[in-house]
């Protein structure tokens, strides 16, 4: 006898307290779900402190049943440093968009990585400042249209995107860097494993970990909601290859 089909889209961990208000097709809620599932599976919810930056995902502070410090744009890795240093028994993570981490907060994340702070930074990368209406960030890929690069990012006038995960992977003090995407079922599963791996490293005290999660932003990409995953695969994924990055900073 086969099981009756079950709609899993409505499943969510108990740690999610309510609905999100983000766009249809947004990848960020998927990232939140797998993050909270990992915290639950590792049984670290009662030791975890999240430092959340500014972006569409900022609204998650109201629906995630985890202790949270909402902080200034870009500064989450510094706040996380302060928390972890004085409460080393907690599990500290940041949740930041690409505008937050790679624009405003590029020096914060790189310094925190170089110092080998025992925290996990999570980058939700959709190549756009979604919350302000869809503007170019330091991770917008060449050719990508945004409200401040209407004809597509052009290297001559807009320069090139910054692969922050690669930069982090080049620093000693870093123990884990991985890039996943939530555009496919397989991608979701693999990204969840990356998150789990990163937190296990933190629990073992190995140093700094970064998990970059490519997320869909059909609104910011000017594509229909259902076309987000394909657009992600053809544009962002080409610029930001998925997988665990080799660490080049260690002796």
């Amino acid at each position: 006898m086969t099981e009756a089909p079950r709609l899993v889209a409505r499943d969510r961990p108990e740690l999610i307290l309510g609905d999100h208000g983000l766009c249809p097709g947004c990848g960020e809620p998927v990232a939140l779900r797998i993050l909270l599932e990992v915290l639950e599976e590792l049984d670290i919810v009662r030791r975890s402190i999240g430092v959340v930056g500014h972006g569409c995902y900022g609204s998650f502070v109201q629906i995630m049943d985890v202790e949270v410090l909402q902080c200034l744009h870009g500064r989450a890795p510094s706040c996380a440093t302060g928390i972890k240093r004085v409460r080393p028994g907690t599990v500290v993570f940041t949740m930041q968009g690409d505008g937050d981490m790679v624009n405003e907060g590029l020096q914060e994340v790189l310094h925190t990585a170089a110092r080998g702070e025992n925290v996990t930074c999570i980058l939700l990368n959709n190549g756009v400042f979604g919350d302000t209406g869809g503007h170019q960030t330091a991770t917008t890929v060449v050719g990508q249209r945004t409200k401040t690069s209407l004809d597509g990012r052009n290297p001559e006038t807009h320069g090139y995107p910054i692969p922050v995960a690669d930069l982090a992977a080049s620093l000693a003090g870093v123990c884990y860097v991985a890039r996943g995407a939530v555009s496919t079922a397989g991608g979701v599963a693999r990204t969840k494993r990356m998150l789990r791996c990163a937190f296990e490293h933190q629990l073992a005290g190995h140093g700094f970990g970064l998990v970059e999660i490519l997320t869909m932003c059909p609104t910011g990409w000017f594509v229909p909601a259902g076309s987000g995953p394909d657009y992600l695969t053809s544009s962002l994924e080409a610029a930001y290859p998925l997988g665990e990055l080799p660490l080049r900073g260690h002796a």
């Binding site: 502070v61 706040c79 907690t90 599990v91």
Partner: protein, 359 residues
């Protein structure tokens, strides 16, 4: 040495403030080197690990204050600082601290008195104020440092010590004893992870909207409550000192090191028969306006002496009993190096300016 109080030592202001902070239980410090604040970072860097604390030489001032914010959010007595230029970078975060209701002691080891506006008007965003204490010398800085940790925790707010190069670099033999300012409530709002998954997990957010399962007051009620808190502080925490004020026809108003010099000059002038006294604001904010009004009630001249182009002057004009008798006798005066006070901060020129204004 595990937080025990050292015997009398010859300490410069940076070292003395460090000892005082440690006596108050400060166990986290982050800073970026910048003269004359650097000595505070160096002393903290050496002493905090000795007492089980943490000191980080941050890679920028913005990072330093945000690290300290994190430590404060986790419930630990924390501090940071810089000189005025570095404080300028920290302004957004100071506002964030105020609206998050997080306690933090911030030291402006300034290069001069030109940061009065920065300290008292603030350069962040939103409606907040910053309790600011301006010691006149190293011994007073030692008292103020501990008081500030108490005030920060009591009011859940960032607070400021306004120092200067003379305080930073003058060595004085001091005994730093721990002072008890009274009981404070436990920091049950501080993050430690333990309320995760309970439906009531702690949240620190300037918008204070809470969780959907436990809604917070939201930005309107929260920011109004914060503003009301600062109104209360303004009523309760103003501090000032007077020196030889009885029967003074001329009242000189000065803060910080300038206050120390004016005090000396006032003694000299009184000995020569001049009826002059000093009013010294100890809190720059809340400005002790009510006390100033009383002290200047019978003054025919109110002379403002500060090493800047006239900043505290605005507050004196607002609160002096007779605004019409207020005159400015200070000025910008900078050491050739750019890093300290110039020749105006000296007994002789101050005496001349007071006499000129009373001629």
């Amino acid at each position: 040495m595990n937080g025990t109080v050292p015997a009398r030592q010859l300490l410069d202001g940076c070292a003395a403030i460090t000892e005082s902070a440690i006596a108050a239980g400060c166990r986290f410090f982050a800073g970026y080197p910048m003269s004359p604040f650097t000595g505070l970072l160096e002393n903290m860097s050496r002493r905090l690990p000795q007492v089980g604390g943490h000191c980080l030489n941050a890679e920028s001032e913005i990072e330093a204050v945000n690290m300290a914010l994190g430590a404060a959010a986790a419930g630990v007595r924390a501090a940071t600082g810089s000189c005025g230029q570095g404080l300028a970078l920290m302004q957004e975060t100071i506002a964030e601290l105020a609206l998050n209701e997080l306690p933090l002691v911030i030291v402006n080891m300034a290069r001069n008195q030109q940061d009065y506006f920065q300290a008292t008007r603030g350069g962040g965003w939103g409606d907040y104020r910053t309790i600011t204490l301006a010691p006149k010398d190293v011994p007073e800085a030692v008292e103020h440092a501990q008081l500030l940790f108490h005030l920060a925790d009591r009011y859940r707010a960032p607070v400021l010590l306004y120092g200067d190069p003379l305080i930073a670099q003058t060595h004085v033999s001091v005994d730093v004893a721990a002072r008890d300012f009274g009981q404070l409530p436990a920091k049950d709002w501080a993050l430690d992870g333990t309320s995760g998954g309970t439906g009531h997990s702690r949240q620190i957010w300037t918008w204070a909207m809470g969780k959907v399962s436990a809604p917070g007051p939201g930005p309107d009620r929260h920011w109004r409550a914060v503003a009301a808190k600062f109104e209360q502080i303004a009523r309760d925490e103003a501090r000032s000192e007077t020196h030889q004020i009885d029967g003074a026809e001329t009242v000189v108003v000065a803060f910080g090191s300038a206050g120390l010099f004016v005090e000396h000059v006032v003694d000299e002038l009184r000995a020569d028969g001049h009826r002059v006294g000093l009013f010294r604001p100890v809190t720059l904010w809340p400005f002790p306006g009510a006390d100033l009004a009383v002290a200047t009630r019978n003054a025919s001249r109110v002379l403002v002496f500060e090493l800047n182009a006239g900043q505290m002057l605005d507050d004196v004009r607002q609160f002096a009993h007779d605004r019409g008798v207020v005159r400015f006798i200070g000025g910008v005066s900078i050491h050739a190096s750019g890093l300290s006070f110039g020749p105006l901060l000296d007994a002789a020129p101050i005496r001349s300016r007071i006499l000129e204004a009373t001629a």
